[in-house]
């Protein structure tokens, strides 16, 4: 066997060996998992929706976006720049999101609220968030004991919600996001 062939095989073998090591390290890298978004209501009705909802948020943002768009499907009168979801940013429910589809969202300690607040300072029917006829989202305090705050002001009348403005109920803060 010629010297050249053996040299090529020698270097080739080392290259293949190292390739295996590098591939193995890549597998370890892809083995670190991000977070996933689970549908909270779905668990009660069976795993089918949960499967669909389970997705990597960090790894596959395009997929997550697509799902939100399909979730909004049919609601074509929504304007550009309008909020698409409500996010709980502080309190025990931090991380919870609700897609905005033109439905009324009720907040409070009552079990049938859209967002059930586990908060001593919240009333059982505390506030609601709904779209008006133009698609502008409105927050209304439902006569709660401790009040609902938009930014720093306590609400007395139904008030339009600017994008990203914090709505505070007890220890819970929610905001609307695109």
């Amino acid at each position: 066997m010629s010297e050249l062939t053996l040299t090529v095989m020698r270097l080739g073998f080392l290259a293949v060996l190292w390739l295996f090591v590098i591939v193995a390290v890549q597998v370890i890298r892809s083995d670190l998992f991000g977070t996933r978004v689970t549908q909270r209501g779905a668990a009660r009705r069976g795993g089918q929706e949960q499967q669909r909802g389970a997705q990597r948020q960090t790894a596959a943002p395009p997929q997550a976006q697509r799902r939100q768009e399909s979730g909004r499907g049919g609601n074509s009168r929504q304007r550009r720049g309008a909020p698409t979801k409500l996010v709980v940013s502080e309190g025990t429910l931090t991380g919870t999101t609700v897609a905005l589809q033109g439905q009324t969202i009720s907040l409070g300690r009552a079990h049938d609220s859209t967002i059930v607040l586990d908060d001593d300072y919240a009333s059982s029917r505390h506030a609601r968030i709904y779209p008006d006829r133009d698609g502008q989202w409105i927050v209304e305090d439902l006569g709660s004991t401790n009040g609902t705050y938009l930014e720093r002001t306590r609400l007395t009348t139904p008030t339009p919600i600017p994008l990203g403005a914090p709505i505070r109920i007890g220890k819970t803060v929610i905001e609307l996001r695109k």
């Binding site: 080392l14 390290v25 996933r36 909270r40 948020q57 589809q101 859209t114």
Partner: protein, 465 residues
């Protein structure tokens, strides 16, 4: 669509099963040794060796069956452990076969060709691997046998004392008509089970009942008991079996697991002090250990007209250089005896694959150990955590002791490089070890079962006016 169905929570993502990744890596791990096999044949005899098809099919079959069993019985297990073990075992077979081609060290007195025997042992090892995966449904079952494992491990450790010494160390037991066995290899798995079960129960006493002194936590006298017993035991192994490696392995394993269980650095300090004192004490009066230490300190000294094995191994590494001499083109046969196939197989790797190859092999060991520790991190039960740390710790210590000994970092001890070196007990025991780690990682990575729906969370029927 009701409003609640759009409520989402952000949580951690469950592990996908990764079985297809494992299959792809496994194919890769079979191709590399086959490539090496062809390379050796071309370098030594200018032809593709005749047995290449049989060898490729054999290794492929072993890997394929192992993969199918993992897919069926441990679907969420770690994707990396099986391919890395297969690759190391396959490369070990190629290296032993390659050394079998040297007539000087394959004489009948030295046991003849060893690759066929090693292939048989590997098959037995994979069979045991499959057996463990199929019959050990849950690693927590092992917890029931905490004290039985202690007794079993002690028996396995003491048995070799009653058999004649070979190559200066009493670590073999000989069963007439079957062959010889190194019980220490199996004892390391069993003793890890004992330590895990014992420390899980005792770790609070060991961690919390202590006085602080100069930044160290001094444990109470009665809590110090077990570590002293294990230390005395490992010293006794050293004295009566003259086996430095096994005694280091057991004491080191205990210190590692003690540290992981209690999070007290002081145990490591105590462990190092005790093992240092013990090793020095034994080395002053035990001649076999003295010889090893002497060879380590003066490798170039002339003995019987030639240099020591330690020096020969260093020459091997040196002549290999960065990229090596190429498979089948080294001279590690000059180490003599069967040592190049067992203790010094890393020297052959170093000569024929060079520094680059040795680093790749050591990284493969590192990856295997990393996956073991990772399994321990992911495991949900304390026993599984400790057992995974113990098993990967034992594996890591063994790799360190052998690689350190061959490269001249520490005195050489009679242990085998896991998977790579010739030796039936070693390859079988290490396959069993990997199987237990895979079982723990399957339990750890399996997605948690959905919580039973609580009646409180059910939607209340509200009658609205």
């Amino acid at each position: 669509m009701s409003s609640t169905s759009n409520t989402t929570t952000i949580g951690t993502i469950g592990a996908p099963s990764r079985r297809n990744t494992e299959l792809a890596l496994l194919v890769f791990a079979v191709i590399i040794p086959v490539f090496a096999y062809i390379n050796v044949g071309l370098a030594k005899e200018d032809t593709v060796p005749a047995g290449v098809l049989g060898y490729a099919l054999g290794l492929g079959l072993l890997a394929g069956v192992a993969h199918l069993v993992v897919r069926k019985w441990a679907p969420y297990a770690d994707p990396l452990m099986l391919p890395v073990s297969t690759l190391l075992n396959g490369l070990g077979l190629v290296f032993i076969w390659r050394l079998d081609q040297e007539p000087q060290i394959t004489t009948p007195q030295l046991g003849g060709a060893m690759a066929p025997g090693q292939l048989m042992w590997s098959t037995l090892g994979v069979a045991l691997f499959l057996g463990v995966l199929i019959f050990l449904k849950d690693h927590r079952v092992l917890q029931r046998y905490t004290y039985i494992s202690m007794v079993a491990a002690l028996v396995l450790l003491i048995l070799p004392v009653f058999f004649p010494a070979r190559f200066g160390a009493r670590i073999w037991i000989t069963i007439p008509g079957v062959g010889s066995l190194q019980p220490g290899e199996f004892a390391k798995i069993i003793i890890a089970i004992f330590f895990a079960g014992y420390l899980m129960v005792k770790r609070d006493a060991l961690a919390l009942a202590s006085r602080r002194f100069m930044g160290l936590y001094l444990p109470r006298g009665r809590d110090l008991g077990p570590i002293l017993v294990i230390w005395a035991l490992s010293l006794m192994i050293l004295v009566f079996e003259t086996d430095l490696g096994t005694s280091l392995l057991f004491f080191g394993l205990f210190v590692i697991m003690l540290y992981v269980a209690t999070e007290r650095t002081s145990w490591i300090v105590f462990g190092l002090l005790l093992s240092g004192a013990g090793a020095v004490a034994v080395a002053t009066f035990e001649s076999h250990v003295q010889t090893r230490v002497h060879n380590w300190l003066n490798p170039l000294e002339l003995l019987n007209g030639g240099v020591t094995e330690t020096a020969q191994a260093m020459y091997s590494f040196g002549s290999g250089g960065i990229l090596g001499s190429g498979l089948g083109q080294g001279y590690s046969r000059l180490i003599g005896g069967i040592a190049p196939k067992s203790d010094y197989i890393l020297a052959t790797v170093g000569e024929e694959l060079g520094l680059a190859g040795v680093m790749a092999i050591l990284l493969l060991y590192g990856l295997l150990i990393e996956r073991g520790i990772r399994t321990a991190l992911a495991a949900r039960d304390p026993f599984g955590k400790l057992l995974a740390v113990g098993l990967s710790g034992a594996f890591a210590l063994q790799v360190f002791v052998v690689a350190g000994g061959v490269t001249g970092l520490i005195p050489l001890t009679g242990m085998t490089m896991p998977f790579l070196a010739q030796g039936g007990s070693s390859v079988i025991a290490n396959w069993a070890l990997v199987a237990i780690l895979l079982r723990i990682s399957d339990t750890a990575r399996r997605p948690a079962p959905a919580p039973a729906p609580s009646t409180d969370a059910e939607m209340t029927q509200v009658v609205r006016p």
